[in-house]
């Protein structure tokens, strides 16, 4: 049932009876483990025989692929001894699915470990973090030169991008979620389409406007504008979803107390959605910080330390990585990997913070906040019961029900990024 007042759309659903949990029905028997292990041993032995005695193929990749195929065949034969055809197919598919997921994880681990391990040679020198590359040529050893200019450039650019995109993004998200209508629907559609904006197009746009049309030089400020163009849709899109997750009864309670829209947004909606909004901003930041091509087009490459974003070229970490590895010198490549490792650590930290803050949905409290709220409630109860016995129960049970509804709003990050896909997720009766 939907009650529509002229200003706010409030969806009223039946209170959840608790999220249905799926029961696990799988059992692992001893014979299952034996058949898997046995097939694996047989497959590896058979393929090492093929590779060392018959020499049909060669190479590590070929060995792994051959053993895997042999494993699938042997395993299906082994399972076929005491299971039906259907069960064999089920087992084989489950092995394939699990190995694909494993492959994906392995790739991530390899990407992270490989970058860090190649970068360690550069990261070991303290000057890598304290000097720029202006006095260092391509042939100089790693004990000279560093990426201070790139670190400073990245921080300055992202800071300026955030100064623009946080107010603009959050107010737009508030507009979309608080003032429904044709105009906000148009903005939502356009913003949704823009989240897939190729980064080079964002760079090209700022290049066309700020540098070619307005006649400014390449600068850190232009690069931060390009980052803003990329980050805005992400912040607005995920911010909108978080704001819409704020329970209607909280807002209604505020309206019922006679407060204005502005007061309600400032005192109820935004504080409730604070953790989600922070996550939205951090996700946008992670995307903006890692992009190379907008900076390449709008800020140019430099080896000098430059703290003035309004004049002179300015380089960022991804761009520094890119220009380092274009050089054939091993020292420069090592520096490239070093700056890539620094960049990755930066993104990992941002991501961890986002997880920490945004793991909770809109209005879901941390343990400490929960304790404080409970204490406040208790104080109220004792205060009320001192003057007017009977009114206290209503207060506590009301807040309790609100908290129960909120567990519904725990959505993973992807759902926040692509709200349209998950918009119709309804609560089951």
């Amino acid at each position: 049932m939907t009650i529509t007042t002229s200003r706010t759309k409030v969806v009223v659903t039946a209170p959840l009876t608790g999220i249905e949990a799926r029961r696990g029905t799988g059992v692992i028997r001893r014979s299952d483990i034996f058949s898997i292990l046995g097939s694996a041993v047989a497959a590896v032995s058979l393929s090492s025989w093929l590779f060392s005695q018959l020499m049909v193929f060669h190479g590590v990749l070929g060995f792994v692929a051959t053993s895997y195929l042999l494993f699938l065949i042997i395993y299906s034969v082994v399972v076929r001894f005491d299971e039906s055809k259907l069960a064999v197919r089920d087992r084989v598919v489950s092995v394939i699915v699990q190995s694909i997921a494993f492959l994906m994880l392995i790739v991530l681990v390899i990407v992270v470990i490989y970058t860090v391990s190649r970068g360690v040679t550069a990261l070991g020198h303290a000057n890598f973090f304290t000097t720029d590359m202006s006095q260092t040529g391509p042939l100089d050893p790693l004990s000279s030169g560093g990426i201070l200019h790139a670190i400073a450039g990245t921080l300055i650019m992202i800071l300026m991008a955030l100064i623009i995109s946080i107010p603009l993004g959050v107010t737009t998200a508030v507009f979309i979620s608080e003032f429904p209508g044709k105009f906000s629907r148009l903005i939502r559609t356009v913003v949704e389409a823009m989240t897939a904006l190729p980064s080079i197009v964002a760079g090209l746009f700022i290049y066309a406007t700020v540098i070619l049309s307005l006649g400014f030089d390449r600068s850190g400020f232009a690069a931060s504008l390009a980052m803003t163009v990329m980050m805005l849709p992400i912040i607005i899109r995920s911010g909108d979803v978080v704001l819409r997750l704020v329970p209607g009864n909280l807002k209604e309670a505020s309206y019922a107390l006679g407060s204005s829209t502005w007061r309600t947004v400032w005192n109820v909606t935004l504080p409730t959605a604070r953790s989600g909004l922070t996550t939205a901003i951090i996700l946008g930041t992670a995307r903006g910080i890692g992009e190379t091509s907008p900076v390449l087009l709008t800020a140019g490459v430099t080896t000098y330390f430059n703290a003035n974003p309004f004049s002179g070229a300015m380089v960022s970490l991804p761009l520094a990585t890119f220009s380092f590895v274009k050089s054939p010198e091993p020292g420069m490549v090592a520096r490239g990997f070093g700056s890539a490792a620094v960049l990755m650590v930066l993104v990992l930290i941002l991501f961890a913070i986002a997880r920490l803050i945004g793991g909770r949905g809109a209005g879901v409290l941390s343990v400490r906040q929960q304790k404080r709220r409970t204490q406040l409630s208790r104080d109220d109860v004792s205060r009320f019961s001192a003057s007017q016995p009977g009114a206290a129960r209503g207060v506590t049970s009301g807040s309790g029900r609100g908290a129960g509804r909120l567990s519904d709003s725990l959505t993973p990050l992807t759902a926040r990024l692509f709200p349209r896909f998950f918009a119709r997720k309804g609560s089951r009766p």
């Binding site: 799926r22 066309a208 087009l297 960049l343 998950f422």
Partner: protein, 323 residues
């Protein structure tokens, strides 16, 4: 009959509405200006080249012979290679997380996949250039040896019977670039698929199991049909990402300006790599041509993205059954 509500808006509220509407308008203007400015700046070159812009392969704007046929084809080949590799990877991972993974590690796996999507593209580019490319050459060679008769996998100048043939003709190819881009788009595709798979109604799942289906039987008859819209939409979204990828492709491919349909062969190109390669030494007219190329890329990603959300919105995904 509910009484119609009337209210008077205070001054504070009027200012608030004005400010938020204003910032909405600013954002909308910026987003629309992206297309408008690319069109304005690209117009001189587009009007000079006319339809030849889409059919000419060479890129020499200063002599008047230029077009994006080669880079457009390269963009599409790289994106298709990437998405072909990414679909099985993403589907498998999504199925594993939603159907097979023990509940204890499920949340951790979701975080890891999200994190994988957040790793900067230049890091993937480095990985592809220094680690993947040298080790994948054997695979390229193997495919070219046994499947070279398929036109797509043909490699000019490769003789399978010559054991001393250098493997360098397989480097910097569409295939390698596509693999790297696949690793970048697979996580995002996988997250969308996983989200749709987990929404498959429990009632229908348990119905299938109660009728004697194996786990795979249940997945095939309930989860996959239910998630089809999400799978297609997620794939298209990944395709849009793959088309726009710049730095990883730029690092890996060696640019050519002919349509290169042999994906294993050295040399490829994409619109974004072309822009990154040429913008710095370009004459004003060439800049205009690059803007035109950017406009085409922009329109392509828009179409793909709108298509994706349209398909997802129309599919059954996200609706819940009464089970």
């Amino acid at each position: 009959m509910p009484r119609s509500l009337r209210y008077a808006r205070g001054a504070q509220d009027r200012v608030f509405a004005l400010v938020t509407r204003g910032s909405g308008a600013i954002v909308l203007t910026i987003m629309l200006l992206v297309g408008v400015f690319l069109l304005i700046k690209g117009y001189p070159a587009l009007s000079a080249a006319k339809l030849g812009f889409l059919t000419t392969q060479a890129w020499d704007p200063n002599s008047g012979v230029f077009g994006i046929a080669a880079v457009l084809a390269g963009t599409i080949f790289i994106a298709l290679t990437a998405i072909t590799v990414a679909i099985p990877l993403a589907t498998g991972t999504a199925l594993y997380i939603s159907e097979y993974a023990p509940p204890r590690i499920k949340q951790a796996l979701i975080s890891i996949i999200d994190l994988m999507a957040a790793i900067p593209s230049v890091v993937y580019g480095l990985w592809g250039l220094f680690l993947l490319q040298p080790s994948i050459l054997d695979l390229s060679k193997w495919i070219a040896t046994y499947f070279g008769w398929i036109p797509m996998f043909h490699v000019t100048g490769f003789d399978p019977n010559n054991p001393l043939a250098s493997a360098t003709i397989f480097t910097a190819s569409t295939f390698v670039a596509g693999l790297v881009v696949a690793m970048m788009v697979a996580p995002i595709v996988s997250s969308i698929m996983r989200e749709v798979f987990t929404q498959a109604p429990i009632g229908e799942r348990e119905g299938a199991l109660a009728l004697g289906a194996t786990r795979w039987g249940m997945i095939r008859s309930v989860v996959l049909p239910f998630g089809r819209g999400g799978m297609i939409g997620g794939t298209m979204l990944g395709l849009g990402r793959a088309m726009g990828e710049t730095i990883a492709v730029y690092l890996i491919v060696s640019p050519v300006f002919t349509i290169q349909p042999h994906i294993l062969e050295k040399g490829s190109n994409s619109i974004s790599a072309l822009i990154a390669l040429r913008y710095s030494e370009a004459s004003p007219f060439e800049i205009s041509a690059l803007m035109g190329a950017g406009l085409v890329l922009f329109l392509m990603t828009l179409v793909v993205n709108f298509g994706a959300s349209f398909i997802i919105a129309r599919s059954r995904s996200g609706a819940s059954s009464d089970g």
